[in-house]
Amino acid sequence: MKTEQTLKLQAFLDGELSETEARDIAAWLARDADAKALHNELRHTRKALKDSEPRVTLPESREFYWSKIRRDIERSAPAPAKPAPASPLLWLRRLLLQTGPMTVLGVALLAGLIHFCWVDAKLGLATESTGAEAGTFTYHDDANGTTLVWVNFPAETEIAMNTTPW
């Protein structure tokens, strides 16, 4: 018997052959006594194992066996890695990783702006701002409670518009 044939015989026993191959092996078994004998031996061994896996009982008590597992669990990971709700810090970290240096720059500028406004208000320093309309300028001093508004007349934009080019 060739190796390939014997392995096919075994695969036939284990139900691992295609329908056509299984038919061929069944026909071979019907006419070859040696193949039939080998098939029977394999079948007996398979059946003996299937029904009789050796049974074992743990030689340690439940408490003793568990205590080592518990100790290792507590040492390595206190709880299963179930996805936990993301903390604000984790969220910020993820955002920074995704959007890169632009976010870092934006956050830094925003923080700086907030800081300067806060310091100004605290020290009672004057603030300046340009008006919504072109040509106005506002000066506010918290300490003295005064506000000055400059209005350019005529407005600089009007001058520019009325100037005839050379």
Partner: protein, 197 residues
């Protein structure tokens, strides 16, 4: 002390609770399935201390990976796969440290099994179940770990050739050849044991 709340729950409920961080539920799962997991490790390693260590390691790994368990198979099937993989890793490490025996090399190359005479009578016929288990255990002890592993995965874990090949990391042809050798050798060993008695 027996925890009545957990001991009355089924595996699915215990796994769900353990996934939420309930260590008591996990302890109950360990109590229920420890013999089976230890037994699988022992059948593969043939060494009680190693089997104890690896089975405990499997439980720790199971706790750490509990969120990966989706319930596609039973919890015990999932856990058995973990312990099998740990045993295979350990056996590979041991094999690297050892020089292969000539016999093992012959077994790997094939051909030995074909020279064995066919055992005509069923050597396990009319044997009492306990006695049959003991004989099978002794016969398994005499196989190389490669042959024993394939036999265990096929007969006890009911894996198909393809799954065994993936688990063990070899070709389907190697699985078939190892399984064939293991069965033939086991038949001969069981026949010898019958004659001895």
């Amino acid at each position: 002390m027996i925890d009545l709340v957990h001991s009355s729950a089924d595996d699915t409920e215990l796994v769900r609770n353990a996934q939420a961080g309930d260590l008591g539920a996990f302890e109950e799962l360990v109590a229920r399935h420890r013999d089976k997991i230890f037994g699988r490790a022992l059948s593969m390693m043939r060494n009680e201390q190693e089997a104890l260590d690896l089975s405990q390691e499997a439980w720790v790994k199971a706790w750490q990976r509990l969120n990966q368990f989706q319930g596609d198979s039973s919890f015990t099937t999932w856990l058995t796969r973990i312990v099998i993989n740990l045993c295979l890793d350990q056996l590979r490490k041991q094999k690297r440290r050892q020089t292969e025996s000539i016999e093992a090399m012959e077994e790997e190359s094939g051909g030995v099994e074909r020279q064995m005479p066919v055992v005509a009578a069923n050597p396990t016929e009319r044997l009492e179940r306990g006695e049959l288990r003991r004989r099978i255990d002794r016969a398994l002890d005499q196989l190389s770990h490669e042959h024993r592993t394939v036999l265990i995965l096929h007969e006890f874990e009911e894996m198909e050739y393809k799954t065994i090949a993936t688990t063990v990391g070899c070709s389907i042809g190697t699985v078939m050849s190892r399984l064939f050798y293991a069965r033939r050798k086991l038949a001969a060993l069981l026949a010898d044991l019958k004659t001895d008695h």
